[in-house]
């Protein structure tokens, strides 16, 4: 198992390296930082524009290879350069990474756990009313793009607040200004702000996983070993959980690594729509500013998160499937 995981990890490291290099080259070719400085009010002199661009290391009068090698040289030492506004990318990264991870972590855990349980539950109750209701709901959710879901939740919250004349559901940013004393007050405030963003990225995940889990669970339900497990004296519930769900989870680990791509995209939309100052919001605003260094930094983050989740899926797969563990 260790050899298998080490091999996967090595492969992911190569992928990450190539992907990051390509993303720097692509961003440098596609974005135009010169336009950002030339569009400034009051206008800058061409010499000043050049000076700014050279200071950032993104001057397009230098050959691309020179820029890339210098950037890579700094990057291996952990220095990702400066944003287009002159602040260090590393500091901005550190400020925003927590915000995104909170959202992603909650969304992943809530989405996966609820989705898997809902899928297993509906498989056991196939064709009953509860199964049909969950199936219909997940179909509707899968057909709603994440950004639209977030927008609809926001509109629902505005409508609710207006109708009831209260401010129960707050949804802009991560916390209310002024609430920073008292553990419970802060906790409650943060929790309320987390509600809509988390729900909007978790719902799609729940819908997707429950569909997959339902079908893998259905394949397992009729199997002989499940009957054997009950015959040797396990209750149906224990047999289902220990022998059924475990086997049905194996094919899910593949969906998990692909599902994370969608989740990351969903988090980007959610942050932008709900005004969370995380990596996704940074990305969208950086593209508007033609900020090469920041865009690459978000790409690095995305690649690391996606590959880590892929690796996690491999670990899960190996842990659940003895054929891989003992290979």
């Amino acid at each position: 198992m260790a050899a298998y995981l080490a091999k996967r990890l090595g492969y992911y490291a190569v992928l990450l390296l190539v992907a990051v290099c390509l993303s720097y080259l692509l961003s440098s070719l596609a974005l135009d930082p010169r336009a950002y400085y030339e569009g400034r009010q009051p206008p800058l002199s061409p010499a000043a524009v050049d000076h700014h661009l050279t200071a950032l290391g993104v001057n397009d009068h230098e050959p691309l290879t020179t820029r890339f090698l210098r950037w890579a040289g700094h990057a291996v030492r952990g220095d990702l350069g400066q944003t287009i506004d002159g602040t260090p990318v590393g500091a901005e990264f550190g400020r925003r990474i927590g915000v995104s991870l909170r959202l992603l972590l909650l969304g992943t855990v809530a989405g996966t756990v609820i989705g898997v349980l809902a899928g297993a539950w509906t498989a056991v109750r196939q064709y009953r009313i509860s199964d049909r209701v969950v199936t219909l709901a997940s179909f509707a959710l899968l057909s709603t793009p994440v950004f639209l879901l977030a927008v609809l939740l926001k509109i629902g919250a505005i409508w609710f607040n207006q109708t009831t004349g209260t401010e129960v559901i707050r949804f802009t940013g991560e916390k209310s200004p002024g609430v920073d004393s008292g553990f419970w007050a802060v906790f409650k405030d943060r929790g309320v702000h987390l509600l809509l963003p988390t729900v909007s990225i978790a719902l799609g995940t729940i819908a997707g996983y429950s569909r997959y889990q339902r079908s893998t669970m259905l394949d397992v339900l009729g199997s002989d070993y499940l009957r054997t497990a009950q015959a040797k004296g396990l209750t149906r519930r224990t047999a289902l959980l220990r022998h059924g769900l475990r086997t049905a989870l194996i094919p899910m680990s593949t969906y998990f690594s692909y599902g994370f791509l969608a989740l990351f995209t969903g988090a980007t939309f959610t942050e932008t729509i709900f005004g969370w100052h995380g990596m996704g919001e940074w990305f969208v605003s950086s593209i508007g500013k033609n900020d090469v260094n920041s865009v690459v930094a978000v790409n690095v983050f995305a690649a690391v998160v996606v590959l880590l989740s892929g690796f996690l899926a491999d670990v899960l797969h190996a842990a659940l499937d003895p054929r891989i563990r003992h290979a």
Binding site: L15, Y212, T265, I287, V295
Partner: protein, 307 residues
């Protein structure tokens, strides 16, 4: 297989009665599809949406870009069927135009990405060895970044290229997972007798892929392409919502939703027609895709199957 059983059963039942007309595969698939209520409803809705998107602009008295200064932010009326927006454009004309754009983009993206996926997947599976390794590394590489990020980065450069460049971009980043499935299906097809026979008879590899491999995975490709239309429309609207897709003055469902979100509570007609049509369209596509899967391949009990 089922067709044979069904005709045999009918034969046994109708012995001596009127002659039995054998049912072809297309007939069986069609019958199974129509029997699935959800799929049938989805199909009808899709048909209606296409009618709305392509006939709507012809019957509407207004052009989607025309500004009626005498009617700003007006609710639905006989004059403006779905009301007008903040600068006096007709919401019906705008929505059907946006729907048309989104539908065309979704269909083209699904077509291109399915062709690309089957080409790459079949080559990787059939040739194996280094071809396989290189192609699959490429697939993994494209899957490292969420495609939204890459398309968003490239999109400012493509503003001049119009919406067709956008279609190409969506297709280029939408084929990887399908290619993997095609690859694994090809791997098992490669060992089948008819492929081996063709190979020993000296048929070239590309001819084998085209004549023997692709027809055998066609049912999967049809189903996958159908689902891909829904996925492509979702990506298109999301990118357009954030300004990385279809550019003004052209409209798509994504740009319509983006420009009217703020008015959704006060002037609901501006927002909810576009948002509703988007959800209904993707839902209908998914139902049809699911119905097709049941009709073409009744042995598979994959996601979303209820019968």
């Amino acid at each position: 297989m089922t067709a044979v059983i069904e005709t045999a059963a009918a034969d046994a039942a109708g012995q001596g009665a009127e002659p039995i007309r054998p049912v072809g595969r297309a007939g069986v698939v069609l019958r199974r599809f129509v029997r699935n209520r959800g799929a049938l409803a989805g199909g009808v809705v899709l048909l209606l949406l296409f009618l709305l998107a392509f006939v709507g602009p012809l019957v509407s008295p207004w052009d989607y870009a025309h500004i009626d200064y005498s009617a700003l932010r007006e609710g639905p009326s006989a004059d403006h069927w779905w009301g007008t927006n903040r600068i006096g454009q007709d919401v019906f004309a705008q929505t059907v135009r946006g729907l048309q754009k989104s539908l065309v983009i979704g269909l083209l993206v699904a077509l291109f990405s399915t062709v690309l996926a089957s080409l790459v997947g079949a080559c990787a599976g059939y040739f194996g060895g280094w071809t396989d390794r290189v192609l699959m590394f490429f697939v993994d590489l494209l899957l490292v970044f969420p495609s939204f990020l890459i398309i968003a980065i490239v999109s400012p450069r493509l503003r001049g290229g119009g919406w067709f460049a956008f279609v190409a971009l969506l297709a280029v980043f939408g084929w990887m997972i399908t290619a993997r499935v095609v690859r694994s299906m090809t791997l098992s097809l490669k060992e089948r007798e008819f492929v081996r026979a063709a190979r020993y008879m000296g048929v070239g590899p590309f001819r084998i892929i085209w004549r023997h491999v692709v027809p055998n995975i066609a049912s999967f490709l049809i189903i996958d392409a159908t689902i891909a239309v829904g996925g492509a429309v979702m990506s298109e609207t999301a990118l357009s919502y954030f300004g990385f897709g279809v550019q003004a003055p052209d409209v798509s469902l994504g740009t319509l939703i983006a420009s009217t979100t703020g008015a959704a509570v006060t002037y609901p007609w501006m927002f909810f027609f576009a948002a509703g049509l988007l959800i209904v369209f993707v839902l209908a596509v998914n139902l049809v895709g699911d119905g097709l899967r049941d009709a073409i391949d009744p042995t598979s009990r994959r996601k979303g199957t209820t019968s």
